[in-house]
């Protein structure tokens, strides 16, 4: 035994220490492996981050751990995942740290920092009120590929005054594993998003097939876009005939925006007018959409080729919510495919509309060429026969048959006219009068009979038309409100020639009639309207006798 040999007890002590160290190191390695496996086992990004902070706490025996996620510029925090703080404590502290002070130091210089007391470091900013006391500190950057994704912050080493070098090594190792896990989760998330967009695109295509209702189809597009993007709201904005940009379909929050016009400036204008795709993150400026904090906008072509945009937006500021590359492209693809499907549905609708119109035309032609001609001929024959008959009773009966035939012919003419209307938006006087009478049907429960006679559109001066239409509306609504009639006959005719020519409109009902005229409101107004155009207005009525309102205007009104 030499002099420099240690005494046995000390040696045993040292061997024991080494063994303990080895055991501790092995435990640490096992814990680290467990942590890495746990962290790598998650596919969801948020769950992965949560697992990282939990593992870090166990690994280094820290009371509090946080993971600060950097924004895209790398100069501030956008997310802050914590461990060890209760919901109440988190709420009491207030807003998440922005990345100043010691947190900022790690951001600007991405290297591990280990401190025994946070308060002693000169970069310390101090804690906000209600922040639990924290002394010992370990900060380690988390890299994803070569970019700093965020930082792990550990505080309050348990069972010791400060974090050790081993702790630091373990957390650095965990951070490396965490970076890979985050990358994995991101890739997985991207694949899932892409799948979601593909599914949404396929869905929208098949569900728009054969769909004819425009509002319905656009609502479907907005709904699928919002779901697939995981957005708070989605808008389909389309250019109207008057050049305005209108939110035609809104899904999610802000549904009361539907039908509103949005200003054609900023990002929306760029998308609609220049076909740009825009990704707006953090502090979005979208006029008319103040509640939106993050958004993506892509061009969207509406039915019949109207220009427009599809917008998905989020109310929260979350820089990495959508990625400029994959998400914007996915939305763009979705919008293009949906527009294509809409276009196809529209073409289909046009084709069936055309088929319906062709059918109507054929029916109208048959009614005219076959039915009216035959009725007319039959009537003429009957009338001819009547002349040879002496029995006045028979003559009377035949005459009433002829009158009935005439009435039927008139009704068929009306039907033919109705069959011919629809796609045509041109508003001639005949059409206006027909519309007024058709509208009255909703309040009356039946359609008044209408007889139009003469070249109304050539003969009735423009200045007279609004007054004439107003008379019909007023007279029909009076009849609907007061008369309790079973039948109403409306007639508008051109009568007389030259200077004596006038347009005569009558509304006759078989209702209860009335005795005194002055109680009827609106009559004065009608008389004034007639007087304005040099015409007349009278009303005849007696209890039980129904009412006849008659309105006339000269055809030469407005002509010199």
């Amino acid at each position: 035994m030499t002099s420099d040999e240690e005494p046995l007890p000390e040696l045993l002590e040292r061997v024991g220490e080494r063994v303990r160290d080895l055991v501790a190191a092995e435990e640490r390695v096992r814990a680290l492996l467990d942590a890495v496996v746990a962290v790598a086992g998650e596919l969801d990004l948020h769950a992965t981050l949560q697992r990282i902070v939990e593992s870090a706490a166990v690994l280094a025996n820290a009371r509090y751990v946080a993971l600060g996620v950097l924004n895209r510029q790398g100069d501030g925090l956008v997310d802050f995942i914590t461990y060890g703080l209760t919901e109440e404590e988190r709420a009491a502290i207030g807003p998440l740290p922005r990345g100043h002070g010691i947190l900022g130091l790690l951001i600007s210089d991405a290297r591990p920092i280990r401190l025994s007391d946070l308060a002693e470091h000169n970069a310390t900013y101090g804690f906000p009120e209600h922040h639990p006391p924290m002394r010992s500190f370990l900060g380690v950057p988390v890299r994803v590929r070569d970019r700093v994704f965020g930082n792990l912050y550990l505080t309050e080493k348990q069972g010791a005054a400060e974090f050790t070098g081993e702790d630091e090594q373990a957390i650095v190792a965990l951070a490396a594993a965490a970076g890979v896990a985050v990358e994995n989760a991101r890739l997985y998330e991207q694949v899932r998003r892409r799948e979601r967009w593909l599914a949404a695109t396929a869905d929208v295509q098949s569900s728009l097939l054969g769909r004819v209702d425009r509002a319905d189809a656009l609502a479907q597009v907005a709904a699928r876009a919002r779901e697939s993007a995981g957005a708070d709201l989605a808008l389909v904005v389309l250019e109207q005939d008057d050049g305005e940009l209108r939110a035609e379909a809104v899904d999610g929050a802000d549904e009361d925006l539907s039908g509103f016009n949005l200003p054609r400036d900023g990002a929306l204008g760029d998308v609609v007018d220049r076909g740009a795709t825009v990704h707006l993150a953090e502090g979005v400026e979208l006029s008319g959409l103040e509640s939106v904090a993050t958004a993506m906008l892509v061009p969207f072509t509406g039915p019949a080729g109207a220009g427009g945009a599809l917008l998905v937006g989020s109310h929260t500021r979350q820089g990495d919510r959508w990625l400029e590359g994959p998400d914007l492209n996915a939305l763009r693809g979705f919008a293009a495919q949906a527009a294509l499907a809409l276009d196809r549905a529209q073409a289909q609708e046009d084709r069936s509309a055309l088929a319906v119109l062709e059918d109507r035309d054929r029916i109208a032609r048959d009614l005219h060429d076959l039915v009216i001609q035959r009725l007319f001929a039959t009537g003429l024959t009957l009338q001819g026969a009547t002349r040879k008959i002496r029995d006045p009773d028979v003559v009377k009966r035949l005459s009433s048959v002829v009158d009935n035939l005439d009435e039927t012919i008139r009704d068929i003419r009306g039907t033919i006219f109705e069959l011919g209307r629809g796609a045509d938006t041109e508003q001639d006087l005949r059409g206006q009068v027909r519309d007024v009478v058709a509208d009255a049907e909703t309040t009356l429960g039946y359609r008044p009979r209408l007889l139009l006679s003469g070249p109304l559109d050539t003969a009735v001066p423009d200045g007279v038309r609004p007054h004439l239409v107003a008379f019909l509306i007023e007279a029909l609504s009076n009849a609907a409100r007061h008369a309790h009639a079973e039948h109403i006959d409306v007639r508008v005719a051109v009568e007389g020639t030259g200077d004596a020519g006038e347009v005569v409109a009558t509304v006759r009902d078989d209702g209860k009639g009335f005795e005194s005229l002055h109680r009827q409101s609106g009559l004065r107004n009608l008389r004034d309207r007639a007087a304005t155009v040099g015409g007349t207005f009278d009303i005849e009525s007696a209890p039980g006798e129904g009412t006849l309102a008659r309105w006339t205007a000269p055809l030469r009104y407005g002509l010199s």
Partner: protein, 215 residues
């Protein structure tokens, strides 16, 4: 019937035999009207009407093989003393326009009672026009005032519109030919074109939509 007066000679053109028979019965019962001929075909009518020398020709506006309007213009170019009435199913602006285009003295609605065809024939035979000159004037103005006016008129060429204006003034094809240094046959072709462009058989909704979609 006043035996001292000669019966009014009337020709009937309608593609429905029953209609012609009914009209013939109706008119001949009057005593002072003689139906001197009838036809169901536009082609045939244009050929035989001048030969039968009617005072009044009653012409259905639409026929399977042509238009009563063209028949009217043709026969009046040959014999301007023939007065014409257009028989129409619709009492509307197109009826008025058709009558003016045809150079007819008026139009009569296909209605068994109420419209007095007999009275109309007598007045027309006496040289009266049933068309309101003020309305004819308005149609004329519409034709002349050009592009601001109805869609159909926009489709006409300048020459066609010029011819339409002369038609609205009541000129026959021959007179128009003389005024514009055109052969009567050329004028006739113009009239056919104008009629088809204006779609006096009222343009169907299907045609309107199809045109819109093809645009």
């Amino acid at each position: 019937m006043d035996p001292s007066r000669e019966a009014i000679r009337v020709f009937l053109l309608d593609d429905h035999e029953v209609v012609r028979r009914g009209l013939r019965e109706l008119l001949e019962a009057e005593g002072d009207i003689a139906v001197v001929g009838e036809s169901g075909s536009a082609q045939e009518a244009a050929r035989i009407i001048p030969a039968t020398r009617p005072r009044v020709a009653v012409l259905d506006g639409r026929l399977p093989d042509g238009s009563g309007i063209e028949v009217c213009r043709e026969i009046r170019a040959v014999d301007p003393t023939i007065q014409a009435l257009i028989l129409t199913s619709y009492d509307d602006d197109d009826a008025l326009f058709a009558a003016i285009m045809a150079g007819a003295s008026g139009y009569v609605l296909k209605q068994i009672t109420g419209t007095d065809l007999v009275d109309a024939i007598r007045r027309v035979a006496a040289g009266q026009s049933l068309l309101d000159p003020a309305l004819t004037q308005r149609v004329l103005e519409r034709v002349r005032s050009g592009p601001a006016q109805p869609n159909e008129l926009k489709e006409l060429t300048e020459q066609e519109r010029k011819i339409l204006a002369l038609i609205a003034e009541g000129m026959t094809n021959r007179q128009i030919g003389e005024q514009l240094y055109l052969a009567e046959k050329t004028v006739k072709n113009y009239v056919s074109n104008i009629l088809s462009k204006l779609g006096l058989e009222r343009r169907t909704q299907a045609a309107v939509l199809a045109a819109k979609l093809l645009r």
